[in-house]
């Protein structure tokens, strides 16, 4: 749609114009500090990520294993029965080649966010993470991947304790 517009109205400004003082502006920084209660499910998930394990939870009635773990089953609304440790390998469910960073900077090498179905969870149950150590053109849906963890002493109970997923080296 924007291709049809030859000239946008208004005055376009570059970073240099701000530096040179060509334009006056007000800079402001939001105080966006927050604390989000992790709860029982995600709290346990983050604690086990610190130990290098991806945790799921199991409902015996529905015979479902979901990841990240939830304490109430989304199918039968009953409390889940147990936490189950899952493998740190999985299958690419879907992915994207992203040539723009979160703060809208263009990049040459794409970031590859992907949904990865974790081995041990029920089919089509997975988590979102990044792929790396892979040729962007070689990424395929159904590709087998494995987690690359941070060293144990650097893990702090965060989803970023897994740095990224890389193609699985078959043994």
């Amino acid at each position: 749609m924007t291709a049809k517009i030859k000239e946008f109205p208004g005055i376009s400004l570059s970073e240099q114009d701000f530096k040179d003082g060509k334009i006056l502006f007000n800079f402001d920084k939001l105080n966006g500090i927050y604390a989000w209660d992790t709860g029982v499910g995600i709290g346990s998930y983050l604690a086990s990520l610190k130990n290098g394990v991806i945790l799921g939870s199991h409902c015996k009635t529905c015979r479902k294993v979901v990841v990240p773990p939830r304490v109430v089953c989304e199918w039968c609304y009953r409390p889940m029965d147990e936490f189950v440790p899952l493998k740190d390998t999985g299958t690419v469910n879907t992915f994207s080649l992203c040539y723009v960073t979160w703060d809208v900077q263009r990049i040459k090498e794409p970031e590859i966010p992907a949904v990865i179905n974790i081995d041990g969870a029920s089919p089509l149950h997975g988590i979102m993470h990044m792929l790396s150590e892979v040729d962007p053109n070689a990424v395929k849906i159904g590709m087998r991947v494995q987690a690359v963890w941070k060293p144990a002493n650097e893990r702090r109970g965060s989803i970023n304790d897994i740095m990224y997923f890389k193609p699985l080296e078959e043994k």
Partner: protein, 153 residues
């Protein structure tokens, strides 16, 4: 067994910060208004000959007849306190020793919200004339805070 108990090793809360920053450019009229404050220590307004209104801070359009305004007027640096209030707490909620006085100072048919200084809080009153005290020219950056405060005439 149900999953009712928190993992004692689990983080109770995820604490983080949203990195939200913004740059606000003042627009056509605002740019000229703040340039005048920064470079000349002047407060500018725009006059609508149709409605005989002088807008302060300056605007590019008359909000009554929507005509474009290009008649710029220097409204001087002395205005009248229309209303004021005492602030006993700071922005972060901590108590203040001396209250800060925030006033609406009328210029022509508009005005500015700013702080009053060099005035005994008990002597502040509606209708008193106050004058803008500008920061030294070298310290001005093109902001409403280039006026440090208003003091009684």
């Amino acid at each position: 067994m149900t999953l009712l108990h928190r993992d004692p090793n689990a983080p109770a809360a995820w604490v983080d910060n949203l990195p939200v920053e913004n740059r606000y450019t003042y627009g056509l009229a605002g740019e000229k208004f703040f340039r005048a404050i920064k470079d000349n220590g002047q407060i500018l307004g725009t006059h609508c000959p149709n409605c005989d209104q002088t807008y302060v801070p300056a605007t590019v359009f008359c909000e009554r007849c929507l005509a474009q305004l290009d008649e710029w007027v220097d409204v001087g640096t002395t205005g009248e306190v229309v209303t004021y209030t005492f602030l006993h707490v700071n922005l972060d909620g901590s108590p203040r020793q001396d209250p800060e006085i925030i006033a609406f100072v009328r210029f022509a048919d508009g005005g500015l919200v700013h702080r009053l200084g060099e005035v005994d809080p008990e002597k502040a009153e509606f209708g008193m004339m106050v004058q803008a005290v500008f920061k030294p020219a070298a310290e001005r950056v093109g902001s409403i805070l280039d006026i440090d405060h208003f003091k009684p005439v």
